[in-house]
Amino acid sequence: MDISFSAVLSQIMLGLNNGAFYALLSLGLAVIFGMLNVVNFAHGAFYMLGAFAALLGLDYLPRLLGSDVGIGFWSALLLGPLLVGLLGVLIEKTMLQRLYKVDHLYGLLLTFGLALIFEGVLTNYFNVAGEPYSGKPAMLEGAVNLGFMVFPAYRLFSIVFSLLVCFAVWYLAERTRLGSYLRAGTENPDVARAFGIDVPMLRSLTYFLGVALAGLAGVVAAPIYSVSPKMGSDLIIVVFAVVVIGGMGSIMGAIVTGLALGLLEGAVKVFYPPLANTVIFIVMALVLLWRPAGLFGKER
């Protein structure tokens, strides 16, 4: 098979698309890990719940209420993350909070259990094959000719939108007062508390933010992929690897690594497809041998 330059460019665009999702998800994981020291195994489930919020709001809610119009895409973009975030706060307040004092591994195990519950319950009511989401906004229908390829308008939007959100979060964390509190709370909770920062509140807020980002990614993904109870668990392990490669707790690291690995995966799909599934894990092993703390991480 001969590989033309435009074919490579096309795959790179697709890689960028995946990379943007990786970045959004690993960003949330990194924020939660940095602040709470919790590996949020339920992150994939929250992503899935975000997509379901969009789907249910559009298709099922109106049927339930007997009205004609459901919650459209743009409202879902706001409501989805909000709902998922609030669920996250509920979990943080009732369960996660009690685990900060014990071994961090328990946080991982708890969220693993939660992920199984969410996935199991939804599997009971929805087809694993996926339900179509038909709420794609009309203005994003169709495709844009980029010269070397025809690219769906919505995918283009999802790339730009995800990147904007990523940089907004980075700005929030690195350049604002709230962000400085967050970082202070992350690096030294005791000192932060001494300075009058409400650390438990800050932790809830962080979990809300991280989980809402996953929910947001879910809403953005809904029109592209089928909305299915398993959509999160397929993705979460890849995102874990992304976070390990980037170095946990580094926001910029998570964004850059997510994008780069998406591109790499896209390129591998052109040149040697059988490796596409594993390339990220192989990179992870190599990075660990070379820099155990990850590309952007500090050993701690």
Binding site: A7, Q11, L14, N127, A129, P132, A143, S226, P273
Partner: protein, 396 residues
């Protein structure tokens, strides 16, 4: 020596309950995917279909009540086999039906050969079931990858769509489907320009679709099923793929998931759909009344084959697998599902298949009105001829 002492002790304990076994029920097992990718294809619907068949047979055969037991194999061959083994060994299940998923189907059929019990595959598609892996007690009932590929590929080739590119699920079932379709295409003078394999349960088909696009083939054949098929079609529309898109294994439930808007005009081969004949419609509506959805070809096959099995038990006067199997082979199947259907030496049930087309949204008269019959493919053309079978049970 030690074993003999144990024998004595345990014999007294075990002998008692074994004595009283008068009108023990005839158990039929539905081993299916209750929660996974194929739950909509088989799943609860298959259990309902089998229960319907048991009720239609009067709830009793040879004076024994018919009991339907069901289990979820979770699409895992090991879980399926251990469940089936337990059913055979301890529950006295006489026959297992459905067996959605080729991996489970092959494994359980092999176990059936070992344990001398009848297994009927309605959900699995791989032609291996009636070739390399065939068994004396295995029946492949509703469809197989050869029949699907044959019907669909032949029809498209006749329209002059003679260059193909395949997207193939990277496992035995996809391989079987792609092989069968590619053989038919090249056999009719067409060209296969390329095949790309994708892992099972892929969410992002875009890069594979781009390869298909740049291949310049007239037809993009999807040798996959369920969620993979649905995602592939949706994304092809999104990327504005100009080529003819064809699904090689499509269930009614997939069309439901895609919506007529996306699926309209697509042609595929099926063994059953309620729109096709008045008899099929009658069964579909009876099923719908119990289940709340229309049956897929797998679920319809479960009903038909369970009925055929029960009739054979009645005719044989016993549930002995050899006797029942003999009756099942010698009696033709005549019902809504098959006309003069015959179970061959290799286990293949030969019946007519149907080439159908998905309606335009404007043509649909209801939420389940999805398909139109294009052509009926006679059984002897649809299925792989017995002479070409690699089954060791076929005398040549």
């Amino acid at each position: 020596m030690q074993a003999r002492i144990k024998t004595l002790v345990v014999a007294t304990v075990v002998a008692l309950p074994l004595a009283a076994q008068a009108a023990e029920p005839l158990k039929i097992g539905i081993l299916t995917d209750m929660s996974g990718v194929y739950a909509g294809v088989g799943g609860k619907g298959s259990v309902i279909a089998a229960e319907l068949a048991a009720a239609d047979a009067g709830g009793k055969v040879l004076g024994r009540p018919i009991q339907i037991v069901a289990a979820d194999h979770q699409n895992k061959a090991d879980i399926g086999v251990s469940k089936a083994r337990e059913w055979f060994d301890t529950q006295g299940v006489a026959m297992i039906n459905d067996l959605t998923n080729s991996g489970v189907g092959i494994a359980v059929q092999r176990l059936g050969t070992e344990k001398k019990r009848i297994t009927i595959n309605n959900g699995a598609g791989s032609t291996a079931l009636t070739n390399k892996e065939c068994g004396p007690y295995g029946v492949h009932y509703a469809y197989d990858t050869y029949a699907l590929a044959k019907g669909t590929a032949t029809a498209l080739m006749k329209q002059g769509l003679n260059s193909w590119f395949f997207l193939q699920a990277d496992y035995a079932f996809g391989q079987s489907l792609q092989n069968d379709a590619a053989a038919i295409v090249s056999g009719m003078g067409g060209k296969v320009l390329g095949t790309v394999k994708h892992p099972l349960a892929t969410t992002d088909f875009s890069s594979y679709l781009l390869q298909a696009q740049s291949s310049g083939a007239k037809v993009v054949g999807l040798a996959n099923a369920g969620g993979d098929f649905v995602n592939g079609v949706k994304q092809a529309k999104e990327f504005g793929l100009k080529q003819t898109l064809v699904g090689l294994l499509v269930f009614d439930s997939d069309i439901k998931a895609l919506g007529l808007n996306t699926a309209q005009g697509m042609k595929f081969t099926t063994a059953y759909s309620w729109e096709l004949t008045p008899e099929m419609e009658a069964f579909g509506k009876r099923f719908f009344a119990k289940a709340g959805f229309m049956p897929t070809m797998t679920q319809a096959g479960v009903y038909s084959s369970t009925m055929h099995y029960l009739n054979a038990v009645k005719a044989a006067g016993s549930d002995d697998a050899d006797a029942v199997m003999k009756k099942m082979r010698s009696t033709p199947i005549n019902d809504f599902f098959a006309k003069k259907g015959v179970i061959r030496a290799d286990g293949r049930m030969v019946h007519d298949m149907y080439l159908v087309e998905v309606l335009k949204p404007s043509e649909s008269k209801g939420p389940w009105d999805q398909l139109r019959l294009v052509a009926t493919i006679p059984g002897d053309v649809a299925f792989k001829p017995l002479s070409a079978s690699e089954c060791s049970l076929v005398k040549k």
